[in-house]
């Protein structure tokens, strides 16, 4: 269904998994107490990437699926790169379980996770948690115009260091908006847990059986 691309790699000091391991070793030398999170996109062999990162010493593997996107990615690429995160999460989760190392590494997922239900689904598929991008930006007023990387492109003042544009957002106001977002989410997540009789969100991890596919 999917074919992996071998696309040019911008980090010219890392061309193989042992180079990656060397970088992780380096970070841990700089700060032995550092928690290392490795963010990767989701190729067809994302499970191998995950186990390679585990052996490289990563504490967290953060898989970023195809429905996410940076403001700066070209349109043609944005929605057409990598495996949707719904496929990638169980693939990585189940593989790590079969390798016997699932509880030695934390699995975070991102890529189009926009509602509390999405978070619950991601966890039910096998993630330990989610990284939220666009939803938080929208919470503070992002209108999804896609001009993030331009110096004076963000009309709402979020993705800018321009002194004038950054005046548009009041950090205190932004703080309340984000707190509201996560409060609302936590309420919804509790509702979900109550419905399934679960005591903690941790118990939801890997509970694919609780997911239903609409035909």
């Amino acid at each position: 269904m999917f074919t992996s691309l071998y696309s040019p790699f911008p980090f010219h000091s890392v061309y193989s998994v042992e180079d990656h391991k060397k970088h992780v070793d380096w970070i841990k030398t700089v700060n032995p107490r550092a928690v290392v999170s490795v963010k990767v996109s989701t190729p067809t062999d994302v499970d191998m990437v995950a186990i390679g990162s585990y052996y490289a010493g990563a504490n967290i593997i953060h898989i970023d699926g195809g429905y996410g996107g940076t403001g700066a990615a070209p349109e043609i690429a944005k929605k057409n790169i990598a495996m949707p995160v719904e496929y990638a999460i169980p693939k990585v989760h189940e593989y790590l379980v079969s390798e016997g190392v699932r509880d030695r590494i934390t699995l975070m997922a991102s890529g189009g996770i926009r509602t509390a239900d999405d978070v619950a689904k991601a966890i039910a598929l096998g993630a330990d948690g989610c990284v939220i991008g666009t939803a938080e930006a929208v919470a503070v007023g992002c209108t999804h115009c896609g001009n993030c990387e331009r110096g004076r492109g963000c009309q709402v003042g979020i993705t800018t260091t321009d002194p004038e544009l950054s005046e548009f957002i009041d950090p205190a106001w932004g703080e309340t908006r984000i707190v509201n977002l996560f409060n609302a989410w936590s309420k919804r997540l509790r509702m979900i847990l109550v419905e399934f009789g679960l005591e903690s969100i941790r118990e939801l991890r890997g509970r694919k059986d609780l997911l239903v596919r609409y035909k």
Partner: protein, 855 residues
């Protein structure tokens, strides 16, 4: 005879039912190889493998040995020369009889057979979790009637006997592997190697575990290759997936990962070759065997088939070569591995009676590699992923008294896919007038030579030190402390005298160092100058002198006490808990790194951080053996801190430094000075891959060459002088602003030291095809009086006039460069031929072209 009949004969072979999907994936590995004109014991491979453990994860390791000693195998010289050494690894011991009855006894005349020696209990080797297979070694020839039958059935009667026999052995092993080692089924046995005078062994563990488990410490061979694997898939790792893989007469180890595995598998399938172990490396050696044995390409064309010359390098080839290479590329492009890879191959060229060690690198130079050559009582060539692995081999040989020095006579990197060296080098062991000889050459057959100089051969009787030197010593020493004056004074003696005399000078220095702390400082500085600088060494090999200086420095360092009132305070692993703050502001902490772990929380790099935290501002490290990350973790604003490194520095040295001054007395390795922010870095040698990646600043001086991709993605204000040159991809995506307005630049002088101690021009000041690609800031100043750098080497940059303003910018750095390395601005840099030219006639500037915004 064409190879087609042989290929056709393989049609009859059964095809595996396994899927074509790679079952095992890996990217990483550490590889090493050595070749010598005398047989060397396996223990010399051991240390280099141990030091490269961080490149593997213990899930696969192996070695191969070529050019063996008949007595050690229990056979005659004739049998060793003529028989195939069929080695079968039995994962299921009970399968042996059946395997022998089905695949060995009926076809082969077995001249000798034995079980390969191994330790009694695998668990006695720390870290070995999986029991290695039991290996049986059979010396065989194909029965004549079997061979006739084989020839007749496959219409191969026109072929030479040896070719037929080779092919039969190959096909027979394939059948054995298919039946007893299917990747989806029960694994019972597999053929580990089956070439002549060649053995390979592998297991689930590290490469050095193989040497220990199969008791190869004293096993001798002329050529060795070794490997650590870093596989990432599969819970149960099978030894069959470890490297090396064997074609027929060659064994191959591989660092890297292919993108076009399927393409290669299909290419091979069209020739009725089916991989069974489903890794990249297996198909590599199958390709190698196909092109070498079946197609009978000479080595140069074989290398071209695997690693095609492309882009600008192709254009630079002579027309004759272009025609042939184009044909080769057209035929073989689908069978050429794409992606990062570096191969080391041990090959028995039976026809030419040569034992070969080859290193071949991919055309984008994505994997690191280093080559070295030393000539003395023995001649040895070494290839490795890392330079410190080479030092480990030579160091061990020197300690055992087999060679005079732990330093090679020459070190170099291959420039993948290049028209200059072909990205491949070869060490060949052949019969010579007095026994075996070792020759080194590149892809095109050009020999790598060493000048005829003497090596250190015992110390000899003590020689009375020339009176004038003895008198000079007290004068140059304290209180004048003129180490540079002493160095200049003693240079002629070092050039003209013999080793004994130099030894005497060093003895005097050792004695002087014991006289007091000021004397000690003078001696350390003088010895460092002798060690770092380039000068005429007369008839004596520099590598031998370096050994003497190295020992003298170590003796002087080791004699330092742990006293609070001396200029120096020495600590080592055993008494490291005695680290306290310095007694005097100017006190230097001297650390013997030898027993410190190379990496991790207890590493010498972390110890340096602790020492800095205690207030030390001067730190000197010696006896480094590949210790990694030195200079990392010091934190911001380390101005005033000075670190000196003696020995074999590991990777990532000076990465992330912000203010301190770090000096490497010798070469640095890969990933040096990553994200360096501010400070001074001096390297008295070469640097490896990805030097100063994403650096933000720094005043950096490199005596030698940089490998691939230096200063990529660097920003801000790095100011770098590289006295040698780079492989390619210098300063790609450089973003260092306006050099005349606080921005950064790189000066490339394109020089190298001659064996006479002069600095001479390299053939090309910059040989690659991707200079300053896609840069948006900064500039490159290249010393190019003969206008060799051309526009087709640029990619988004342009050649501009070198102005007086430019000279005023770089001159202070070149003057500092002169102070550090003795490379004289006027005589070495601005002199071309015998004339001193204006800087604008010598230097050229490459500046970025402003790029359109990507919308």
């Amino acid at each position: 005879m064409t190879g087609q009949p042989i290929i056709d004969s393989r049609k009859a072979l059964p095809v595996p039912k396994t899927s074509l999907v790679k079952q095992e994936a890996e990217g990483g590995c550490g590889v090493v190889g050595l070749a010598c004109n005398v047989p060397l014991a396996g223990k010399y491979l051991l240390q280099s493998l141990v030091q490269m453990r961080n490149r593997g994860n213990g899930k696969g390791g192996g070695i191969a040995a070529l050019g063996l000693v008949p007595e050690q195998l229990g056979v005659s010289e004739k049998i060793l020369r003529e028989d195939y050494i069929l080695q079968v690894a039995y994962l299921d011991k009970s399968a042996r009889k059946q395997v022998e009855d089905e695949h060995i006894r009926p076809f082969f005349q077995v001249d000798h057979e034995s079980r390969v020696e191994a330790v009694a209990d695998y668990r006695s080797i720390q870290g070995l979790e999986v029991e290695p297979p039991e290996v049986y070694r059979y010396f065989v020839r194909v029965k004549p009637e079997v061979l006739e039958d084989f020839a007749r059935k496959n219409e191969l009667s026109g072929h030479k006997g040896s070719e037929l026999e080779d092919e039969f052995v190959y096909q027979n092993s394939y059948r054995l592997n298919l039946q007893y080692y299917s990747s989806l089924g029960e694994k019972k046995a597999f053929v580990v190697s089956h070439g002549k005078n060649l053995v390979a062994l592998k297991l689930v563990g590290y490469g050095d575990d193989v040497v220990k488990y199969y008791r190869l410490e004293d096993f001798k061979a002329h050529v060795w290759i070794g490997h650590h694997r870093y596989p990432t898939k599969g819970r149960v790792w099978h030894p069959g997936g470890a490297h090396p893989f064997v074609g027929l007469q060659e064994a191959l180890v591989h660092n890297g990962d292919f993108a076009n595995y399927h393409s290669i598998v299909e290419y091979l399938a069209q020739r009725h070759i089916h991989p069974l172990f489903l890794t990249d490396t297996e198909v590599s050696v199958l390709l190698f065997d196909l092109v070498s044995r079946v197609y009978k390409y000479p080595l140069e064309y074989l290398i071209e088939a695997l690693a095609p010359t492309t882009e600008r390098d192709f254009e630079m080839l002579p027309d004759e070569k272009k025609k042939v290479y184009r044909l080769i590329q057209t035929s073989h492009i689908h069978g050429s591995p794409d992606g990062p890879w570096f191969f080391i191959v041990a090959r028995n060229d039976v026809e030419k009676n040569a034992w070969q060690l080859l290193g071949i690198t991919d055309t984008s130079m994505l994997r690191p590699q280093v080559f070295a050559l030393q000539e003395g009582p023995i001649k040895i060539g070494i290839i490795a992923s890392e330079r410190q692995a080479i030092s480990a081999v030579l160091g061990r040989l020197q300690e055992d008294g087999k060679i005079p020095s732990r330093f090679g006579d020459r070190y170099w990197n291959a420039r993948g896919g290049s028209h200059t060296d072909g990205g491949a080098f070869l060490f060949s062991v052949r019969d010579g007038e007095n026994g075996k000889e070792l020759e080194a050459s590149d892809k095109f057959g050009l020999a790598i030579t060493l000048p005829d100089q003497e090596w250190l051969n015992g110390r000899g009787p003590a020689v009375a030190l020339n009176l004038s030197i003895s008198l000079q010593l007290p004068r140059k020493g304290p209180p004048s402390q003129d180490a540079m004056g002493f160095y200049e004074y003693v240079r002629p003696a070092v050039r003209d005298a013999g080793f004994q005399y130099v030894g005497e000078i060093l003895e005097e220095l050792r004695r002087l160092a014991l006289k007091g702390q000021e004397s000690r400082r003078f001696v350390i500085e003088s010895l460092s100058l002798l060690y770092d600088r380039i000068y005429d060494t007369g008839k004596k090999k520099r590598s031998s002198l370096l050994q003497m200086y190295h020992e003298a420095l170590n003796d002087v360092f080791s004699a330092i006490p742990s006293s609070n009132y001396d200029l120096y305070y020495r600590l080592e692993w055993r008494n490291r808990s005695r680290l306290v703050h310095p007694g005097l502001e100017s006190q230097t902490l001297v650390v013997d790194a030898f027993e410190f772990p190379i990496e991790g929380d207890e590493s010498v790099a972390r110890f340096v951080v602790d020492a800095y935290g205690e207030g030390w501002k001067n730190i000197l490290l010696y006896n480094l053996r590949g210790h990694r990350f030195i200079g990392s973790g010091l934190g911001p604003r380390t101005n005033g801190l000075r670190i000196g490194c003696y020995g074999d520095v590991g990777d990532y040295v000076a990465s992330g430094i912000d203010g301190c001054e770090l000096t490497v007395h010798g070469a640095a390795q890969d990933q040096a000075a990553q994200i360096l922010k501010y400070g001074k870095l001096v390297i008295h040698g070469d640097v490896g891959q990805a030097f100063m990646y994403a650096a933000k600043g720094g005043d950096v001086y490199v005596m030698g060459n940089a490998a691939g991709r230096p200063l990529i993605n660097a920003v801000g204000r790095p100011r770098v002088v590289i006295n040698g040159t780079c492989l390619d991809y210098l300063a790609e995506s450089f973003m260092a602003g306006d050099p005349h307005n606080g921005g950064g630049f790189v000066v490339v002088n394109g020089l190298k030291p001659s064996f006479d101690g002069d600095f001479i021009e390299q053939t090309y000041p910059y040989p690659g095809g991707n200079l300053f690609s896609l840069a948006s800031g900064g500039a490159i100043f290249v010393r190019d009086p003969h206008r060799k750098v051309s526009r087709d080497q640029l990619n988004g940059g342009r050649l501009a006039d070198f102005t007086r303003e430019d000279w005023n910018l770089i001159q202070p750095y070149l003057e500092e460069n002169e102070k550090l390395f003795g490379i004289l601005v006027k005589e070495d840099l601005l002199t071309v031929g015998d004339k001193v030219l204006d800087p604008s006639q010598v230097y050229r500037k490459i500046e970025p072209v402003s790029l359109q915004e990507l919308t």
